[in-house]
Amino acid sequence: MQDMENLSDVSHLVNEIKHKKLYNSLDIALKTEELLEKLISHDQWKSARELMKLVKSRIKFIRKDLPTETTATSIMRHILKIIREEYESAAKKKGEGQSLHQLVTANSSDILDYSENLGSLRSSILDHLGEYKVEIESSSDNIAAQASEHIHTDEMIMTVGKSNTVEKFLKTAAKDRNFKVVVVEGAPFYYGHSMAASLAKSNIQTIVIPDSAVFAMMSRVNKVIISTHTVLANGGLRAASGIHSVALAAKQFSVPVVVLSHMYKFTPLYVVSNNHEAFNICASPADVIPPSAGKILNDIDVYNPIFDYVPPELVTLFISHQGGNAPSYVYRLLSELYHQDDYDV
């Protein structure tokens, strides 16, 4: 079981996520990045291929234990691409003498064989990782900086539940614009309550509504600004449950749905149904109906799903730190983020 020992770092991460010690996606992202940084700097790997194998085994581990956790795997996938890039540039430097003829006639397996032992590889990857870490950390600031391009004066904006990215976005916009925010409370978890309290503290006019009032309010809403758990490869979302009906109502009233997303939330995953096995998980039904309800609980089914699938046609815009993109462009962002060969580890 040498394999398991080596994976102790990642199993620790999985445990922390499982027990909600790490809840925030940004925290998970940073923790994952640190984990890989440690792995790369301390572990005894000889070639890029070995290193990639180590990373891939970690991705597999996470996918097995937490099929719905995508942030950590996305970070790892992106780092795989970084390794590939660094290897290629290092290999190119070394073989500068290669002629065009050699390049053309070269066997494809030669180019993609990451087995060469390059001395400078470790440090160059670590350098690149440092940059990546800064990018992750500043991502939500960069998203928030675009707020004034999307919110005009006296708007009515709807958001669902709580998201740090959305919160920062709205607060940044509120610095020089007056607008109102309608917060959907998001029963049975009620994250919307703390969101609303926090927005109100920053002098934003905030209205809290129950989930049932979404359709009624939507006719007066100018924009729906939400965050998501995952952006799927087709441009759809895996978002908090209830967002699908919010998006449907928005479509009914032609209200644009803007999704704020960090780059690490984009995944090469295709899921096109709510009932996909790996797609959804259900939380404790005690949030829906208290155990004090008594005997009646023996005879009923209670569901408390966490996620909703939102098809891409209901999403108007994605905003990442690189700017805005339509859902139809997600495939292209993915190919910039991850290497084709790593889509399915």
Binding site: I207, A216, H244, N275, D299, V302, Y303
Partner: protein, 511 residues
Amino acid sequence: MEKPNNENKKDKQGPDGLTKKERRALKVNARPSQTNQAAGEHAQKPLTNTNAQPGDTIVQTQTPVVNSKSLTEKELRRLEWAKKLEQEKKSNEGDKNLSKAEMKAKRREKQEAQRQQKSEQVKTNVSAEKCEPVTIKEIIKKPSSNKKVITPKKKHKVTEPHVVQLVQHLYNEDSLKQEDTLMILHHDIHPAFVRLGVQYSSKVILGSNARCLALLAALKLLVNDLKSPQKQEFCRYLENVLQVSTNYLNKCRPFAVSMTNALRYFKLQLTQIDTNLKDIEKKAKLQDIIDTYIDDDISKAGVAISMKVREKISNGDVILTYGCSSLIRKILLEAHADGKVFEVIIVDSRPLLEGKELLRRLVVAGVKCTYVLINSLSYIMNSVTKVLLGAHALLTNGYVMSRIGTAQVALVAREYNKPVLVCCETYKFSERVQTDSFVYNEVGNPDALSTTHRNDITPLSNWKDSLNLTPLSLLYDVTPPDFVTAVVTEIAILPCTSVPVVLRINASETT
């Protein structure tokens, strides 16, 4: 404009709160308490209502005049104020002096508010009500630094910044909430109506059918107990009494469409009664009319609808329903008793969580049930075969008015191509037309939103302290007709657009 100002300082009462200048003034002209009271009255008048008539005094308020809504409200406020003054007078000497200072502070404050008003070019009669919270805050900041004032009007001002402008017209600030005020004010209203009013406002009686039945029951009691004065004709007198009673009920909670329709029918019958009959015969006839209405338009209609829907339920169906409609409950229970094998998914939502009641009843009857909150709609909708919804009213333009959330359920059902059946007796059809959920609606208790079943203390708990935070709980929404497959009525299964036809036929039948 003084109102939020006073509010800000309500808890800082006491002699410490006075400036030196004021304290000095106090010592110099200490006056007998009577003048205090008189002064209090004068200062209070512009506070309560800008267009108060100068002739109105406290004495007048003892006689219950009900010619206009605004007048009674005014009087109620003044009555409260007079009571408060008397209490203060009795309590101790110190308070007397304080109230003197209070008057001064108020006067100064008033001047300042007026100045503010001029500078802002706000029309005087719209001042307090329509002022934006932002401007209110500005005013608060200014005087609070040097003056402390006690105010007897608390409830009024707390709610002021917490009004969603969109539905400002729905807030009924002077609606009667506490039981005791209900009792004091209206001794000329039949106790059955007073009780009914309390039950409505505390939401003990919920649902448009239940509310209508309760109203009719109270009406029967009223008819039975009423004695007309010597010279007045019974029916005319009853009309007057009824007007007063319904005004009162409307204040407790706005009328449901079902209640309006039932009442209109009753009034119409009232005009058609033979005036030559004896009072006792009229009474019997009127009670008979009410009984027939309950029997035909509510009970039998329910039975007919139940039969029609039962035909549409087949074995193995999974029926989704929302909230707890009395009619849907009846339909499901009867279909189950009839031997149909089906499952029910009950979708529920905060803050009322009515669905739990339906769940309990169905489980007791042995129906297999699933219970989810409204956020899980998309998750559960795939397994559904039919959606059954109750209605508060059907509007002439085909929109369905129902408990908040119904539109969302219908929307998701349409997305998944599930048939949506709305069950509604024709007595709930309304001539009203409406396309949004704001014009005619009710605002529920915002405090219900700030607590959850798990903990009473949430980040929202002290929303009243924050000027920017407003929980909004609407009670109804309207569902566009394109989400509704069909409406099941006692007459037939119809498309939504047939509402005006039904109304026309019903009208021609009754007259």
